[in-house]
């Protein structure tokens, strides 16, 4: 081959360039030199062209609609399905990471049978025969334990269980039992309502992490952003009532640092004020309601909750001011204690008293949790297992050995079952207890469906053929094959797919008017499902439970167990993206930590990262401390999701499982597991602990990177001195800092005289166009001669800090799109994170009362006057004619000067070879490398990389437009981050197009530029966060 010469020359030059023989180790290998054609060309696959498959996300019970992007038969990216009612195009970090579940290198490779303490691989036929025999012999003493299934899969499992004489139990740790129980009691409807944040003008959350794990986080985030966009007339106010400020709470204007477990009192106190002062709408039940809450006077509440009486009244009046348009939410895991149901009931009462039920609390599209076992039922099941009720047990899609506390004795009882079969695709804790593992195919490679909310039937379509290295089968196929082997017959189809199609006949009857089934099926598969507008079920007050004042537990610390935005209940812990994604509260990665108040830490004599021992009556763990002002001094918080003892290389032996600290306890009314309410002793630990912070400093040091604009300034209009001109900086108190001297007009800042009809070259356009310019007119950046004259676009971004809630979905989207390597905890701690977009968290005011936490999505700003460009000696970074700050990896020598000169520190350097399979630092072990985007170069050791504004997508979009011989449409090209954002905080587009959305936002009244005084003229414009005044002075 002609290239042999080239390679030897390259090696030679390498040696010459270095001058030492050591470099010879880095010789380039000749590329793979065989090409394999398709045997038969698939109709729908053309190499080099992406295909999109609509499907359903199965990472949590919400089931958002997704679109999977596939290239050359490999799923490479997941995005939200914009047409789907659940998610509406957004997708959270967990959903996007399901790709790494599919390509998990630790997936079970084939059916396995336990052989002592090890596993023996067997064939499917052997496995089916063996298990079928046991199933036949069990004769009804069989258990099928699954996670939440809905739609056809649930029907198949239930029918199968019925036919085989087995019991089908569905179990989810986050089962909304308290919400269902409370709604059953107060409204007579055991359902999880839809919270219409978009209709609300004021929200009070009683510990519900509705932007993280509670309810439908993605849809709720969008609604919440819509609410927060309103600011006239005091609208958009959000109050977080919780002992530990969650990520959701960080978005609040006001943090009411209530005593742990006493949230209920505040809700009732607010209701009491509203009802007694008659601030709400006229209600027939007013008397009954008032009598239920009469004991909860502001004074009584103040004693129970640590919230001042006048604050109780103020909050009640604020809430009532927006009667019918306000919304109180409760029911998350962070408040699931002994009085969880009572709390939800109290909040229901509050909502009802303010007339919100039916306007912001809707039962039109409740979560479908039908058939889910309650914790009490689960407990009973465990008892039966121990009692020998089952000879054979099948487990699929749930991992109780990890996700239930030890006191439930699941593991022991499960161990007594004679023959245990796991249908899990990964070797999780429960699978590790089993005798046989028959791996199920991942949701992205198998057919299925879900009906996760009323009126929505979503289809789950395989985006690719099952991965060849994993000999797995869809669960349905396994069940059917087992039934055949055990001579069990039923009404199901020959395969799970046939069965699915057969069951969708019902939907065809409902939606398929005038279409054949095949046509209906094809269209439904393409759309991702069918849905209808669901009418709201109106409810009336059904009666309140007897509210008791929360038990006052004194001494020690309240243990707050928090659900994880990254891992949910722990099921995401085996995905490196989610481990590497910083927790947006502490900005820590890859482990566990306990959040304690700095004053508590001082008393204990610990600092950030020092070990502390948390001891409850159930056990003790040693974790690094994270000093967090967003937690009460009498509380300690520990996150769920880590501390796996199995589950693959990324999850195993990282951090601790908070469940180990839970003493026996349930919510009295619903029987739900009490995550909260434990009291813990704290002591200084002795071990050396790793606290891996991706961002250590959370104070802005008055640098005004993430800016706010007070509502008063905004209301003064776009013309007042407060309006969104960045020449004057807003201080925390809403005052105006004096003009920065560096942007002050001076000798060389005469107004720029431009000839009539002057059009600046596309690349130099920035929304940064102040009236004065700190440059002499002669020094306008030149057009790159004829090289840039065809440029019509200036790609730019507008980021609305008011909409960003710090969910970090964009970060994972960027990892997926741009082949960003995961580097592990030690390197992150050193400051060697590779992410192209990060979300900086600034805690400007934290500690109860007025709350000011700001999230700043930070990426390459694509400056028109980029400091990085002029320092690169080899033109590896330069400005494209369309305004992008280009980075040419293969030209990069790695002087790293660009990063040193980047004021935004948006550039990451490949310190090691993350892309070389032979190196220990390889970041994409097979088959994780299948996920790599073929349109983006995988960077090698020693080169700089950074956000490209997804230039591959820009080129693809421009190419599509040229293929179709048309102009580009605004919004046609979306970057990975802007596409994924559940709140649409990121807008991407062409700044040179005056009609574009990004133009409108970039020149809007809240615009500003980060570090504007450096005159980098960024292409990324930020919109200031709207700050609402609050009189709460804090008392945590």
């Amino acid at each position: 081959m002609s290239d042999s010469v080239v390679f030897s020359r390259r090696d030679f030059l390498k040696l010459v360039g270095v001058g030492v023989a050591g470099a010879a180790a880095g010789c380039a290998k000749p590329p793979a030199d065989k090409l394999y054609p398709y045997l038969v060309a698939p109709d729908d696959i053309l190499p080099g062209v992406p295909y999109f498959y609509a499907s359903t996300c199965r990472e949590c019970p919400v089931g958002c609609g997704i679109v999977v992007r596939a290239r050359e038969g490999r799923a490479i990216k997941i995005e939200g399905n914009p047409k789907h009612p659940i998610g509406q195009g957004g997708l959270c970090a967990r959903g996007q990471s399901s790709l790494q579940g599919l390509y998990d290198p630790d997936r079970v490779k084939s059916p396995m049978v336990r052989n002592g303490s090890t596993w023996k691989n067997v064939t499917w036929d052997e496995a089916i025969a063996m298990v079928g025999e046991k199933l036949a012999a069990a004769k009804g003493k069989t258990l099928l334990l699954t996670g939440l299934e809905s739609g056809s899969q649930r029907a198949l499992a239930s029918e199968w269980a019925a036919a085989a004489g087995a019991r089908h139990v569905m179990w989810e740790p986050f089962g909304y039992e308290a919400v269902k129980a409370a709604n059953a009691k107060t409204f007579g409807l055991a359902a999880v309502p839809r919270y219409a944040f978009e209709n609300a003008r004021c929200v009070v959350s009683f510990g519900a992490d509705f932007l993280e794990t509670f309810g439908q986080p993605v849809s709720q985030a969008r609604g919440f952003a819509a609410m927060r966009a309103k600011h006239e007339d005091g609208a958009g106010h959000f109050v977080a009532v919780e002992p530990r400020l969650s990520l959701t709470g960080a978005n609040a204007d006001e943090w009411v640092a209530v005593k742990a477990g006493a949230e209920l009192s505040l809700a009732l106190g607010m209701a009491q004020v509203i009802l007694s002062e008659n601030l709400g709408p006229a209600l027939g039940e007013r008397g009954a309601l008032l009598s239920a809450v009469s004991a909860f006077t502001p004074e009584a509440v103040a004693a129970q909750t640590d919230v001042k009486a006048e604050d109780v009244q103020r909050l009640a009046r604020l809430f009532a001011k927006h009667s019918g348009k306000s919304l109180a939410v409760a029911g998350g895991i962070a408040t699931q204690g002994a009085n969880a149901t009572a709390l939800v009931a109290a909040v229901n009462l509050l909502n009802y008293a303010a007339g919100n039920v039916g306007s912001t609390v809707l039962f039109d599209r409740p979560l479908n949790l039908d058939g889910l076992a309650s914790f009490a039922e689960f407990g009973a099941l465990v008892g039966e297992m121990a009692g020998g009720a089952f000879d054979v047990a099948f487990v699929h899609g749930t991992n109780p050995a990890y996700s239930t506390p030890a006191w439930t004795k699941f593991a022991e009882s499960f161990g007594t079952v004679g023959f245990k079969v796991s249908l899990s695709g990964t070797l999780d804790e429960t699978a590790a207890l089993c005798d046989v593992i028959r791996p199920s195919a991942h949701a992205l490679e198998s057919w299925g469906d879900a009906q996760t909310a009323k009126g929505v039937w979503s289809l789950q379509q395989p985006a690719m053929r099952p991965l060849p290295m994993f000999d797995s089968r869809p669960m349905g196929d396994t069940l059917i094959a087992l039934a055949t082997a055990a001579n069990v017959t039923g009404g199901w189809g020959a395969t799970a797919f046939d069965d699915l199609k057969a069951r969708w006949k019902a939907q065809h009857a409902r939606f398929g008017a005038g279409r054949t089934f095949e046509l209906f099926w094809d269209e439904t598969v393409a759309a991702g499902g069918v849905w209808e507008d669901a009418a709201n079920t109106s409810v009336r007050w059904n009666g309140a439970p007897a509210f008791a004042a929360p038990a006052t537990a004194e001494g020690d610390f309240a243990l707050v167990v928090t659900p994880s935005n990254n891992f949910y209940d722990g099921r995401g812990a085996n995905k490196p993206w989610l481990q590497e994604l910083p927790d947006m509260t502490s900005k820590a990665v890859w482990g566990s930590w306990a959040e304690i108040h700095p004053e508590t830490a001082k008393k204990l004599g610990v600092e950030d990262g020092d070990a502390i021992v948390i001891e409850t009556s159930a056990g003790k763990v040693e974790v690094p401390a994270y000093l967090y002002s967003g937690i009460r001094k009498d509380a300690v918080a520990l996150g769920l999701g880590q501390g796996h003892t199995a589950y693959g290389r990324y999850a195993q032996a990282r951090g601790v499982n908070a469940l180990a600290l839970l003493p026996e306890g349930t919510d009295a009314a619903s029987g739900a597991l009490a995550y909260q309410g434990a009291r813990a002793k704290l002591a200084k630990g002795s071990k050396a602990m790793g606290l891996y912070l991706q961002q250590a400093e959370k104070n802005q040091h008055e640098r005004e990177l993430a800016q706010i604009i007070p509502v008063s300034a905004l209301l003064a209009g776009g013309h007042g001195e407060h309006a969104g001109h960045s020449l004057g900086r807003l201080t925390e108190k809403g005052g105006i800092l004096s003009e920065d001297v560096q942007t002050k007009p001076g000798k060389y800042t005469e107004p720029l005289a431009r000839p009539e009809g002057y059009v600046p070259p596309a690349h130099s356009i920035s929304a940064f166009e102040p009236k004065e310019k700190v440059r002499h007119p002669k020094s306008e950046p030149v057009s790159a001669g004829s090289y840039g004259k065809n440029a019509k676009h200036r790609w730019a971004m507008a980021i609305d800090l008011n909409a960003c809630n710090g969910c970090a979905a964009c970060v994972v989207a960027c990892y997926a799109e741009n082949n960003i390597p995961v580097v592990g905890p030690e390197l992150i701690k050193k400051g060697r994170e590779m992410a192209w977009i990060r979300i900086d968290r600034f805690e400007d005011k934290l500690g109860g009362g007025a709350n000011d936490v700001r999230f700043l999505p930070s990426m390459c700003q694509h400056c028109s006057d980029a400091p990085c460009e002029m320092v690169c000696p080899v033109y590896a970074t330069y400005h494209t004619s369309e305004g992008l700050n280009g980075q040419v990896y293969n030209r990069c020598v790695g002087t790293r000067y660009c990063s040193n000169n980047c004021p935004y520190k948006a550039r990451s350097f490949n310190w090691f070879d993350y892309s070389a399979p032979e190196k220990t630092t390889f970041a994409f072990p097979e088959p994780l490398n299948w996920q790599l985007n073929p349109d983006v170069t995988v960077r090698s050791k020693g080169v700089m990389e950074k956000c490209t504004m997804c230039v591959q997508r820009i080129l693809e979009g421009k190419g599509n437009a040229r293929d179709e011989k048309r102009e580009l449409r605004d919004g046609e090209i979306q970057t990975a981050c802007s596409q994924s954002c559940p709140t649409q905080a990121i807008t991407f587009g062409d700044l040179a197009d005056p009609a574009s959305a990004v133009h409108a936002k970039s020149y809007g009244e809240r615009k500003y530029w980060v570090l504007e005084e450096l005159h980098t003229r960024p292409g990324v414009t930020y919109l200031q966060k709207i700050q609402r005044e609050t009189t709460n002075e804090g008392h945590a």
Partner: protein
């Protein structure tokens, strides 16, 4: 004697230097010999003698960024019947019957950090032969052009101001 040696040395140095300099400026062409393929498929017969359109088999070239290698079903479309008795076709049928892929040997090499978009060039009206050379005359296909950066850039420079198919000199178009 010494003078002669000195003169030879000086001359040799100058010669080497000028060759090196001219090499570094010049745009070398590719090889004119291709690798042996598992089946002696002749473009000379198909594209030359039979005048088949390149896009009949390599249809990806104008629809995708990559030109595809035809699926074996494309070959068998004709060769189930056409000249099925020739030894090379028997080899082909053998692969097909066994359900095996033909391990074609890669001819054109482009480094991993370069992205070449076939459809952009084909849609702009380029003939395949402009880059791939006289394929219709090749019994064994070889890499006609060097596919080195200077080769790409020279053509892009020439067509920079072409009204119909303006080329770009933007680095990111090929390197991203």
């Amino acid at each position: 004697m010494n003078k002669t040696i000195a003169a030879v040395l000086v001359f040799a140095t100058l010669a080497v230097a000028s060759v090196a300099l001219s090499q570094s400026f010049s745009v070398p062409m590719g090889a004119n010999k291709g690798p042996a393929q598992p089946i002696k498929f002749s473009h000379k017969i198909h594209a030359g003698k039979l005048q088949m359109d390149c896009r009949f088999c390599h249809y990806g070239a104008y629809k995708s960024q990559w030109a595809n290698i035809p699926a074996m079903s494309t070959c068998m479309g004709c060769h189930k019947i056409a000249v099925a008795d020739r030894p090379e076709i028997i080899k082909l049928t053998g692969f097909w019957d066994r359900g095996e892929q033909i391990p074609w040997v890669k001819v054109h090499y482009l480094p991993d950090h370069v992205r070449f978009n076939h459809k952009r060039h084909v849609q702009s009206g380029f003939q395949c032969q402009e880059c791939h050379g006289p394929v219709q005359e090749m019994d064994v296909v070889y890499q006609y052009s060097s596919l080195k950066m200077g080769w790409c850039v020279s053509c892009h420079r020439q067509n920079l101001n072409d009204q119909k198919r303006p080329a770009t000199m933007d680095c990111l178009v090929c390197h991203h």
